[in-house]
């Protein structure tokens, strides 16, 4: 995956989501998920990403169970679960196998997304792991002050405010600091270069893009011909 350009990976994510929507049978969707799992195995991504992909199975089972309980057929319920795994899994793969700065560079330079929006998107992505680390730190700090996550649902929700409030306040402070820091470094002057990273398409990318185009046409033909 490291040999493929970020743009190809972005296109792959969109195409897999498209395929997941076009495909209807559980068998075809299972094949798509299996293909994704193979790509995961081949890509050298952080261990946490494998875990995240694996944990999708739990949510998929939950989704299948809910759909079935609400009266959908078993085949349809399984298809819904597999579709969710395929679509979410492709995003996990994209973020695990692409450096954030490469993603930003591809969005701005190749897809012509305004720099501010692209930056906002990637800054949000960077913020997610920090946010989880911050939740843990705040929980620990409050545990040392007697915070206990137990009791009735209402008590738990009320108690959880002691976690949420410092988190929100810190997030606001951090965003203000980040905004100031960016302005001080000239962000927002309309200059889109300077990412210092090579994101050009190579032979493997053209091959992958061609494969995805053929796949999409084939799935579209099968889907709309029968």
């Amino acid at each position: 995956m490291a040999k493929v350009a970020p743009l190809t990976k972005i296109v792959f994510t969109v195409i897999v989501s498209l395929w997941a929507m076009l495909l209807e049978s559980p068998q075809a969707l299972a094949a798509l998920v299996a293909g994704e799992a193979l790509l995961f195995a081949a890509a050298r991504v952080p261990a946490a990403s494998y875990k995240a992909f694996g944990s999708l199975g739990f949510f998929a089972a939950l989704l299948v169970g809910m759909q079935y309980a609400l009266g959908a057929s078993l085949e349809f319920s399984i298809a819904i679960g597999l579709r969710m795994v395929a679509m979410t899994g492709s995003f996990i793969l994209l973020f695990a196998a692409t450096r954030i700065q490469d993603l930003t560079a591809a969005l701005v330079r190749q897809l012509k997304v305004p720099q501010e929006y692209a930056f906002m998107f990637t800054a949000t992505l960077r913020f997610i792991p920090d946010f989880f680390a911050e939740i843990k730190a705040v929980q620990e700090a409050q545990a040392c002050r007697g915070y206990c996550f137990g009791g009735s649902l209402i008590k738990r929700l009320k108690n959880y405010l002691t976690i949420v409030q410092p988190l929100v306040l810190r997030a606001i402070t951090r965003s203000e600091t980040m905004a100031m820091s960016l302005e001080l470094r000239g962000f927002g002057r309309g200059v889109t270069g300077g990412y210092g990273t090579s994101i050009g398409l190579a032979g493997a990318d053209y091959l992958a893009l061609a494969g995805m185009a053929i796949g999409t046409v084939a799935i579209g033909l099968v889907r709309f011909s029968f």
């Binding site: 911050e134 620990e140 545990a143 007697g146 915070y147 410092p166 810190r170 402070t173």
Partner: protein, 270 residues
């Protein structure tokens, strides 16, 4: 009494952040845990608070295994002050912020008020009782965090790098506060790599290096000439370095200025 018995902990399999560490801290002690970043000093204190579970060994608090207790229950006996007070502050006034801990422990309103008043008095926050905690200076916020721990009336206080990022005046103020608390019988465990404060205020130092305990004794012994603290990522206080240089130049210990007398004693400890 706190007993850390052969405790080990790994964040990653096979990589010991804490390796077979043992020590005890009795009531009324003032102990510093020192070491370079990543030496395992903070991990040890997190293990004491049951924020982490030991992979080996055990930690006893008055004979009870800390691993079997919840952090909230330990907080009743051991107050913990984090390096960054912003992670815990969430209420609109200093008084209400400090009251959170005792409220969680089930103190009656009268007991909460008494505990909060006492904690604010000892930390010098009484005049800031109605202030919005987020707008306070870093030193004042740290004192709010300390008062929050004290209001739970623990017998031991663990402070993780409480002086980092503070100016010299605030550092001194905090250390004087810890000394006062210690004089009243509270055991203090100070995690720090500030050798100046360590040498001046504490009576016992535990040095951690690469997850293990490499020194446990008085500061004077730590800074004795036969020990190379640089090996553990530490540096002697300036006064000790000056005293050492003067001795090298042939100045007898008895002739050293009064302010360096303690450092000369450290030099002579060997």
């Amino acid at each position: 009494m706190l007993e850390v018995q052969n405790v080990s902990f790994c964040y990653k399999p096979g990589e010991y952040a804490v390796n077979n560490v043992s020590f005890t801290v009795s009531g009324g002690e003032f102990v510093a845990i020192a070491g370079r970043n990543g030496s395992g000093k903070t991990t040890v204190t997190r293990l004491i608070m049951a924020l982490l579970k030991p992979a080996g060994g055990r930690i006893l608090l008055d004979g009870n295994d800390a691993a079997s207790l919840k952090t909230a229950a330990i907080a009743r006996q051991v107050g913990y002050v984090f390096q960054n007070p912003d992670r815990q502050i969430f209420r609109d006034t200093v008084t209400r912020e400090i009251a959170y801990g005792p409220e969680q422990l089930g103190f009656s309103p009268a007991e909460v008020e008494r505990a909060v008043d006492a904690a604010m008095a000892v930390t010098g926050l009484t005049e800031l009782a109605g202030a919005y905690p987020r707008t306070l200076s870093k030193g004042q916020k740290q004192r709010v965090a300390i008062a929050s721990a004290l209001a739970m009336e623990p017998r031991m206080l663990i402070l993780d790098e409480p002086t980092s990022g503070q100016d010299a005046k605030e550092k001194l103020r905090l250390l004087e506060l810890f000394t006062r608390l210690n004089a009243k019988g509270m055991a203090i465990i100070l995690v720090t790599h500030d050798m100046e404060l360590l040498g001046r205020f504490t009576r016992r130092v535990i040095v951690m290096a690469e997850g293990g305990k490499v020194f446990d004794g008085p500061p004077a012994r730590l800074f004795a000439a036969d020990l190379d603290v640089k090996e553990w990522g530490l540096r002697e206080p300036a006064a000790v370095r000056v005293a050492r240089k003067l001795r090298e130049l042939g100045v007898p210990a008895a002739a050293l200025p009064k302010q360096l007398a303690g450092c000369a004693a450290a030099e002579g400890a060997e």
